[in-house]
Subunit: 708 residues, 2 copies
Amino acid sequence: MGSIDTTLPHPFDPLSREEIENTILTVKKAHGDVYFNVVSLQEPRKAEMTAWLEDPVNAPRPKRLADVVVIAPGGKVYDGLVDPAKSEILSWEWAEGQQPIITMEELQLVEHIVRKDPKVIEQCKISGIPEEDMNKVYCDPWTIGYDERFGSNVRLQQALMYYRPELDNCQYQYPLDFCPIYNADKQEIIAIDIPKIRRPLSKAPAFDYHPAAIEARGGFRDNLKPINITQPEGVSFKLSGREIEWQNWKFHIGFNYREGIVLNDITFNDQGNVRPIFYRLSLAEMVVPYGNPEHPHQRKHALDQGEYGAGYMTNSLSLGCDCKGSIHYLDAEFPTRVGGVRKIKNAICIHEEDAGILFKHTDFRDDSVIVTRGRKLIVQQIFTAANYEYVVAWTFHQDGTIQPEIKLTGILNTYAMDPDEDTHGWGTQVYTGVNAHNHQHLFSLRIDANVDGPNNTVYVTDAVPGEAPVGSKENFYGNAFYNKRTKLATTGEAKTDYIAQTSRTWEICNPNKLNPYSKKPVSYKLVSREVPPLLPKEGSLVWKRAAFARHSVHVTKYRDDQLWPAGRHVPQTSGEPSRGLPEWIGDGTESIDNTNVVLWHTFGVTHFPAPEDFPVMPAEPMTLLLRPRNFFARNPVLNVPPSYASTPSQLLAKGQGVYDAADKLSKLAFEVPKEVDGEGVSGAGMVLVVRLMVLAARVVGASEREAL
Amino acid sequence: MGSIDTTLPHPFDPLSREEIENTILTVKKAHGDVYFNVVSLQEPRKAEMTAWLEDPVNAPRPKRLADVVVIAPGGKVYDGLVDPAKSEILSWEWAEGQQPIITMEELQLVEHIVRKDPKVIEQCKISGIPEEDMNKVYCDPWTIGYDERFGSNVRLQQALMYYRPELDNCQYQYPLDFCPIYNADKQEIIAIDIPKIRRPLSKAPAFDYHPAAIEARGGFRDNLKPINITQPEGVSFKLSGREIEWQNWKFHIGFNYREGIVLNDITFNDQGNVRPIFYRLSLAEMVVPYGNPEHPHQRKHALDQGEYGAGYMTNSLSLGCDCKGSIHYLDAEFPTRVGGVRKIKNAICIHEEDAGILFKHTDFRDDSVIVTRGRKLIVQQIFTAANYEYVVAWTFHQDGTIQPEIKLTGILNTYAMDPDEDTHGWGTQVYTGVNAHNHQHLFSLRIDANVDGPNNTVYVTDAVPGEAPVGSKENFYGNAFYNKRTKLATTGEAKTDYIAQTSRTWEICNPNKLNPYSKKPVSYKLVSREVPPLLPKEGSLVWKRAAFARHSVHVTKYRDDQLWPAGRHVPQTSGEPSRGLPEWIGDGTESIDNTNVVLWHTFGVTHFPAPEDFPVMPAEPMTLLLRPRNFFARNPVLNVPPSYASTPSQLLAKGQGVYDAADKLSKLAFEVPKEVDGEGVSGAGMVLVVRLMVLAARVVGASEREAL
């Protein structure tokens, strides 16, 4: 019998620096100097991995493999698979006509090229910027999305143009009206899209948000007293490598260039019984379509994860800034373009927060009460997609709920407008000369289900009135309503949309296990209310490219490598045919009943900008819940220690035995002078005394005044 | 010229103890011994009040008046209006055929009567409870709702019956199957509803949640380390009487027996310009319909605020239990039945919380960054409606957003079932022999608008695709979408429902004031996503009685005393005709354009119980936002001091001048041993150094590895 070698990386761990380096060396040796686009863990094949998870001592340990994408000289793209331990290339394929993810380094290059391009300089002059000020010209390079004039074979970026009068000005308040097209292979500008109506550079005064600008406008407010959050005894979670344990939860925290945080093998210890819930959770893709139909704004529909990567764009987080309390950080490492390794320090933060009241009940008869406070665990990253920031928090609750939450902040994408120009409803003037276009943020949450085992079935559930009419024997008073459950038996049936009218939810059930009391299958329920439909029309460019966003929910049968619903290589896909989900779903006849299912959920917001969003946006949150329903035999948080608990018998015994663990650091906000009649006395102890007096005096019909 | 007498109560203040006492004395003098049902502030007539608010020095101070409801011997109900200062009754009217709110004292009485009633004792015997155990029989008395057999003239309650084997058992796990009807005037049981199929008392073992029960099942978990929240310099809000000022907000905090917390005269100081937003905000009514159509369960549809009162049922809160940090409390005082005064100590708590990231942006070019943390102010109460608790939090954000939030906790209403009996989908077996019926919680948020002045107009706004088809000149790529605004010009047009498909919101606009940049009317937007429709059918008893819940939004023109949308006296209304909103809306032709409008918003949840909710429910939150849109000229929180801010020029100057106010109390969760190569060093300072090194080394095409 063997034992587990704890010096080895967990099979879900991201590639180590050494593994990345070995992979790069191996590729270089075989293929010479290439640009490294991706060197990332190929996650273990599920069959192998589940065998190992079940028996890590005896089952073969899944191999560590590197998924590699490179761009060879001349722009040829190769997909490879490398065994870093053996320095062996297992496969190597030309990805013909496909464009892989745009790296941060590729993005950084464009601005330098743009500033030197004579045609761009000429356009800047037309906008009112003299040639000597070209160092004040900036651009946010975006993948071109798809432009039928150029197709997919040439690697392109479009440069959204801005200007900064001074180095510290925010450039988004000075958008320029033209859009250069950049050829990444040749590192040159190959075209410029110029609107028919020209809009010169705005002459509005700069309106910035950096400290000097605030000082010049009157300074910071000084009326916020500190709120200190401290954990003198440390945190309540444990980490073993990247596996975390907290409040019956256990899961592995992965990270990749594409999705950022990936949570694997999520289980809940249900009174000693370790029950699997999800095999893998991630934000697998997103799309941000803009709603202005005028050319070339239709190209603004960023599939940020497939096109730039939520990992590649992630922030290095700072202690005491992005979160407070006791924080644990995990770093991320990625290849650089020419074959180095870059580390993003503090790419992920992990911390706990007080979660307010977990449960409370008071008996109105005698004021016997229990009040218990909750706690949550947050695994978070923040990524910057040019102008926008996405704060992605995976929140775990003690009661078995998982709550992904995304906060939007950062800066609006802006376009030039003449002051008081009609935006035709496609955008809003948020500052003089600044047009912020309508847009959506739609995310694809990928849920690889494992609810009490790998074989699950998804039901759509609708709250509906009883069928029988008012006045009928079955529904005389008309109050009947129930939870209508509809099985999604095939991938075709599973294309479903949110309906508010029925408070629609989706249940991921294990039909093979019933709750002992309700006799309903154990399940996790997707409760999601921020579910706008994709507003670009059927047949539109966005609709074709971001097919995952056509429905609120899709369900597929699990297959290795079907991870990203807009496809593996997203930049410059035409959507003909649509990549990813539509390919996997095919004719929709595949059974997804009682098998390993993956649920893809589209959620997000539609954003019509307003001046409140300028020059930087107050964070706008959106969230959803994955809730256990009929999963546990009972409330799983009953043994969380309460703040205070009293029972009827304890109150009769004048408070003897009452459980009092109220937070002793909490204070009254203001000094309250003691009143002579005793009414001014406060604190949990006094409240108890008052309760007892009320109880004692609660004689039928008596005034309580005397008691108090 | 006069001056403001600060010794007088604010006209919005609840009646003082003295005013309640004077009112009671005045009434007793004129009418003898009566039962006091309500003695509560009649809020000032709005015309008078706004005149005074505009010029408190010279305008006449609105009179303090007491709204009085009493029940005279024989059950006759009187509505009165009393001037407590002058001890004068201004009006006195018989409320014929109407039943006022049921007080806590009236509720408490029923259990004593029930235990002694021979017919109830007989039914208990049938259930399996011997007569000597009648002290173990409990009931939750509810108003009867409406039962056509008894009408509205006799004051009734229905007694939902339970049993406790031991004093400290939770009775909701032992429901009994019959339902006595109680006559409140005669204090006797006048009927018992007995089901055709009898269900004897459950023999299942008790499953409790009090500390002794948890101890017996293995004890409390011991793996939660404390999270301390302290405010050593005190709070950031100021109170003058019941007027609070915090982060540019100012408002008055009222409280009444019916709605609980009432917020009045809400303004925001916009850079010295005090701008009104809402004249009054409250939860004005709610209904909890149950979905089991079998008699007599149709009677379970509590209109908790109109029938029992969110003020009367409110909890006395405890420091360090219901919230943590520095807390300020406000008490509440109410009349007792026979004419005393009872005080609920700590009825309202007020505190601040850290609100996470308020805004953040990093420039991907150079990692110049600003990150600013937010703060929120919470004004909260918790009320216990028999089995359920409602945690009602009014949250104010620095950015002008108001976020009402309700958390549901407490215990499910339960009914007896034979083990494994078919619940027919109307309920769920949550524990052996315990059937928890489907139900909804629907709340009516009353918004008395004053958005930059009293004359407002409501628009419904829908996110919709552009009309032109894909391929057309106007929408060639099909990506056009916009915010379609539809004016609600009359009360009839304003009956509108939530539509998820268009991410529907409602804008309360001031059409007389335009945003200087967007040129759109200044507005507050209702963003609400937990908006189930009323599931009882049109024409059903609930539909008739709780007419406010028929639509997501109603809008009326303001009139004094139109406060509660199910009417003034709610118990035992038949719904024929429907009281409240339908009366005020009438034929729906009244103009609500550019006038003082009141928006009534129905929101809530539909709850299909599950064993996870038993024996006590983990808190389930629901929330909505009132957001400024086109109200401010720009982001109103720019001057909140950041945690950290650096600009490009500061980074070029090697960090000189960088703003660093990162929270110094935050710590790394685990000790990190210092690595020799320096990579293990952490903290904001080091991150800055790393950033600078990255910036310095960011030469086009260079590997970042060397820099790190």
